[in-house]
């Protein structure tokens, strides 16, 4: 038994548990060029710095905004796609395969592509704007709007995954339920509201949780598509941690940023869970 579980357990400990503990430890040390790249205990100075670090909090807000909007849009699209793929029609398998392609491509590969699509003035969107007589969109160069471009890139890539989860959920709903409701005169909308949505709730929750956690750690897309700019307006927490470590060589602070991000993620999950509890209570009463 030990032999069977040992290697897996060891790997998991090394990869998940150990790093988190290590970060907690390292965050209380200064470890940078200043200290000759050796950890030196500095008693929470990193944490004080973190709390006062405007860039960190800005990045946190941006990351949260990115995650919430991206996942929100994604789930709506995924639901639509899942509903479409749930029905039977010829060529469904092929279309499903094609719909999977965005998810299967490496993020960095298409990030480049997105840069081109949003490019001013040569990208297709800008060209379209020109043709319609609008001014240049400048999507990748305006601190207020560029994050939306990153959301588009993220939604494109990750929607198929959420769609598959929701599709799995849709396929567990027995067809008789819909028939019964239709016989009583229910319209499509009523069917959707009273049958589909409630039965899909655990899958929506799973997809939501999964995607929210993943989106919180967004790195690949941002680094390649915008580099965090313009003016750090699209910078994510993961990217900030990376910069601290790889560019500023401040490993102690990087560990602090990661730890802080992790704590924020925990808070987010906890908040989401409490919210779902609160939402389900009035719903349950309604069902009774």
């Amino acid at each position: 038994m030990i032999l069977l579980l040992g290697p897996a357990g060891l790997l998991l400990l090394v990869v998940f548990a150990a790093p988190l503990l290590h970060y907690a430890w390292l965050s209380y040390h200064a470890d940078s060029v200043v200290t000759g790249l050796e950890p030196v205990l500095n008693h929470g100075a990193n944490w004080i710095r973190l709390l006062q670090d405007q860039r960190f909090w800005q990045d946190a807000t941006q990351t949260l905004r990115f995650a919430l909007v991206s996942v929100g849009v994604e789930l709506l699209l995924a639901l639509a796609i899942a509903l479409l793929l749930d029905q039977r029609w010829r060529g469904r398998g092929a279309v499903r395969a094609i719909a999977l392609i965005p998810w299967a491509l490496p993020t960095t590969v298409m990030a480049l592509g997105w840069r081109w699509i949003f490019n001013t003035p040569y990208g297709p969107l800008d060209q379209l704007a020109h043709a319609l007589g609008w001014p240049s969109l400048n999507l990748l160069a305006s601190p207020a709007i560029t994050w939306i471009a990153t959301v588009v890139g993220d939604v494109w890539k990750t929607t198929p995954f959420a769609a598959l989860i929701l599709l799995a959920g849709l396929q567990t709903i027995p067809g008789d339920l819909y028939e019964a409701l239709r016989l009583e005169g229910g319209s499509s909308w009523v069917c959707f509201r009273r049958i589909t949505l409630p039965l899909l709730r655990p899958y929506l929750a799973l997809a939501l949780l999964f995607r929210l956690a993943q989106a919180f750690g967004v790195f690949d897309l941002i680094q390649v598509m915008t580099g965090g700019g313009p003016a750090s307006s699209t910078e994510s927490l993961a990217l900030y941690a990376y910069l601290n470590a790889m560019r500023f060589l401040d490993f102690g602070y990087s560990a602090t940023v990661v730890s802080g991000s992790f704590l924020l993620l925990l808070g987010l999950c906890l908040g989401g869970w409490l919210l779902s509890l609160g939402l389900s209570r009035p719903q349950r009463q309604q069902e009774v």
């Binding site: 897996a8 790997l11 299967a104 081109w116």
Partner: protein, 272 residues
């Protein structure tokens, strides 16, 4: 087929393929055409971009090979470790098994990119950097949660009698695994293998921090390096060609294995 549905299908296809097709289009456009897309240019089409990408140093196919190597070794390593672990999980008493599964689920949800720093230190202290084979170790580790969850579910679906019968035939544990249990979960194993392969192929932050040697880069990192030059220059034709070349293997993989991928993900969702 109702017209409304046909419309949605077309929209879905356009949305899914659009950006990629645009890259395809761009990759064949000459530089002049890129700069003035709507103007009528004498030389629109060119293969120059592909030539540039394929003739660069190191050659583009090198990255594909590197990714293939890492993908394969990660997948093998993951399965070798996860299959016994998944079996063991089905034999554990429920009061250990349930929390274990919840922990695995939590680990599967976790944004692993946050672990890059610690993993980097592991690479440094154990001298695992710039080594494609070593890279499969963190990949296998990160894939364990999902792999174990999927494989455990598959093992649990097997009738209990079968293992009893195998025991009575004189088969020890590893014999039962090899001749009966593992062959019987082959579909789940295939799905898991493909998902792990995809993950390894697409992984970026760890590959980025563990490998700096240009000839050892995996595809995602190589693409990012290509993009690393200034945002304001215009070798977008070459970028597009690189994108297309980088996408082909994966598109093929998805099209060939789509049933397996879908069943793997959906069974994971249903049982998760």
């Amino acid at each position: 087929m109702p017209h409304q549905r046909r419309l949605w299908i077309v929209l879905l296809l356009a949305w899914s393929l659009g950006p990629l097709l645009w890259q395809l289009y761009t990759s064949f456009c000459s530089d002049q055409a890129l700069v003035a897309p709507l103007a009528a240019t004498p030389e629109r089409w060119t293969l120059a971009h592909y030539r540039a990408v394929l003739n660069s140093q190191p050659p583009f196919w090198r990255y594909l090979l590197n990714s293939l190597f890492v993908g394969t070794s990660s997948t093998l390593l993951t399965l070798v470790i996860a299959l016994p672990a998944a079996y063991a999980l089905t034999r554990l008493k429920p009061w250990i098994a349930r929390p274990a599964r919840l922990l695995l689920l939590a680990a599967a949800l976790f944004p692993y990119v946050l672990l890059f720093l610690a993993l980097l230190e592991v690479a440094r202290s154990l001298h695992l950097g710039n080594n494609l084979l070593a890279l499969s170790i963190p990949y296998a580790a990160l894939s364990q949660p999902l792999a174990i969850l999927l494989l455990t579910a598959a093992f649990r679906d097997l009738p209990l009698d079968l293992e009893d019968a195998a025991r009575l035939e004189g088969m020890r544990l590893w014999q039962r695994l090899r001749w009966v249990l593992i062959p019987l979960i082959a579909p789940a194993t295939t799905s898991t293998a493909i998902l792990v392969f995809l993950f390894s192929w697409n992984e970026y932050p760890i590959a980025l921090t563990w490998i700096s040697d240009a000839s050892l880069l995996t595809l995602p990192v190589a693409m990012a390096r290509i993009a690393g030059s200034s945002i304001y220059s215009v070798p977008y034709g070459a970028y597009a060609a690189a994108t297309v070349l980088g996408s082909i293997p994966l598109v093929l993989l998805v099209l060939v294995f789509q049933k397996s991928i879908v069943s793997g993900l959906t069974s994971g969702a249903v049982k998760g």
